[in-house]
Amino acid sequence: MIRLLKLEWTKFRKNNVIILMLTFFSLFLPASLYFTTIIPTLPAFFPSKESIIQFPSIWEYLGYAGNWMSFFFLGVLAIYLVSIEINNKTLRQSIINGLSRQEYFLSKVLSIFVLSIGATLFYTILCIIIGIINTEPDTLKLIFDNAYAIPRFFLMTFGYLSFALFLIFIIRRSGIALFLYIAYGIIIEVLIRYFIIEKVSNTAITNYFPLNSFEDLMPNPAFKFTESIPNSVEFDFLLTHQQATLSSIIYIILFLGISYLSFMKRDI
């Protein structure tokens, strides 16, 4: 596995697109939190603006910001990791040179695993630094009150990247895979859920859709507050953490499993 990771490192350490995507992720994640704090007025059901950058709620706010950043920058990067190899035919050349298909696939899964670990570490360090700076010393004991957000952040990121890998391995066209990835994440899944909600009485089932499952690992904190308002909504907005974790794990296994089977079977 170390050999495969070293190989990936040699391939991509000088790639400008990857450096750019990682830079965007690293800059926009803290920046998004900062922008939230300078919004003049938050909706009434929100707690104070300061809580956004204080323990323990910073885990949720920064986690939700990371939700978007991981989806966009790291997801696009995951598609790019494979598509650049398809476009330059280095994928087929790697197989010709002696890398087995299993090894090649594993190298990509390892890459997104390491990316997810790296993003989670960055998120954790950022939470701790921003939280310590902005939390009153007497409440610092709350520092790890929401720390279970860390494994959820990892799972969420790995989920998005698995979905991205799934699309590029199945579609093999960078433009189409990228378009579908973003379109599905932003609009298609939302539309499908909307139509199902219209037709089916049991609406909660739509929360189990793949990207919604990943999203609900680090949901928009606003939903939590709206749900606490009596009779404000007619159905559950969110999966519980346990539900989201379980369905995310199932989707990750499905996405990677189908990608693997497809990659092993098809001509390159």
Binding site: T10, R92, Q93, I95, N97, G98, S100, K265, D267
Partner: protein, 294 residues
């Protein structure tokens, strides 16, 4: 030793039959040229034996064993175009191949010397000319000192200078005692480099064997004179002359290669014909190929 044995290999793309029950054996040390018109199944054949395409039926063995990862490390190959990371330099790209082939860390001085790219080793691949890219790909095939090297149309798209450079590189590789399998539709290239040749058309094997055995035993004789009609009449009267035809004022015919050419030319003089053009040559692979694939 049988390096590669292909048995009854077939592959279709939809209704198009790319390979049709192909059989082929390559022995150790041979320089085998795989010849065929465009679309004859050359690249499909190579794709299957290199593990990137799957056959519909049939099988193949490398080094008298089933194809697996270990055997692939003993094969160096480029298929169609040179495939590298455009933003990495020659050294970095070769290092990726080295890692895949599980070869200990090394400098690539000798390889880059062989393909005359030492001075450009730190240049990004995207800045290379097509000829340089092709030569880098040839260097990559030699990493790990493979027993077999496979090339697919190695001079495709190159200018005359590039063709010459790649050919001379291939000739140097051939002298290293490697088994070489080279697909091409450039007959001159195969004739100059290869010891053996296989000809396929529409995925079917038409001929295979040493280049000498594929080439006909006949000599081709070209004669021109002031009186070609008389000349043709004379040639027709001889039993040892066949396939007489006239092209652009030159009469061409085939005779057995054991024929005494000086005696033959004298016999033409003896009937009062003074040749203005007389050439005796062995039939070229190109002519043989065209005849076989007709």
């Amino acid at each position: 030793m049988e390096v590669l044995k292909i048995q009854n290999l077939s592959k279709s793309y939809g209704k198009l039959k790319a390979l049709d029950d192909l059989n082929l054996v390559i022995e150790s040390g041979q320089i085998m040229g795989l010849l065929g018109p465009n679309g004859s199944g050359k690249t499909t054949t190579l794709g299957i034996i290199l593990g990137i395409l799957s056959a519909d039926s049939g099988n193949y063995t490398w080094f008298e064993n089933k194809y697996d990862g270990k055997h692939r490390l003993r094969i160096g190959s480029i298929l169609e175009t040179p495939n590298f990371f455009p933003y990495l330099n020659a050294d970095q790209n070769l290092d990726i191949v080295r890692q895949i082939k599980k070869v200990p860390k090394q400098e690539f001085d000798d390889l880059l010397e062989l393909v005359q790219l030492k001075s450009r080793r730190k240049s990004n691949f995207r800045t290379f000319s097509l000829g340089m890219k092709q030569r880098l790909a040839i260097a990559a095939t030699l990493i790990g000192d493979p027993d077999v090297v496979i090339f697919d149309e190695p001079t495709n798209g190159l200018d005359p200078q590039g063709i010459m450079e790649v050919r001379s590189t291939l000739s140097r590789i051939a002298t290293r005692g490697k088994t070489v399998f080279m697909a091409s539709h450039i007959l001159d290239e195969v004739e100059k480099i290869c010891t053996h040749v296989t000809i396929i058309k529409r995925g079917k094997l038409l001929a295979t064997g040493p280049v000498g055995s594929i080439l006909s035993k006949d000599l081709t004789i070209e004669v021109a004179s002031q009186n070609n009609e008389l000349l043709i009449g004379f040639l027709r009267s001889r039993e040892d002359v066949k396939n007489i035809l006239q092209k652009n004022g030159i009469v061409e015919c085939q005779v057995d290669q054991k024929l005494d050419v000086s005696e033959f030319s004298k016999s033409i003089f003896n009937i009062g014909i003074v040749p203005t053009h007389f050439v005796a040559r062995k039939k070229r692979l190109e002519e043989e190929f065209l005849e076989i694939t007709k």
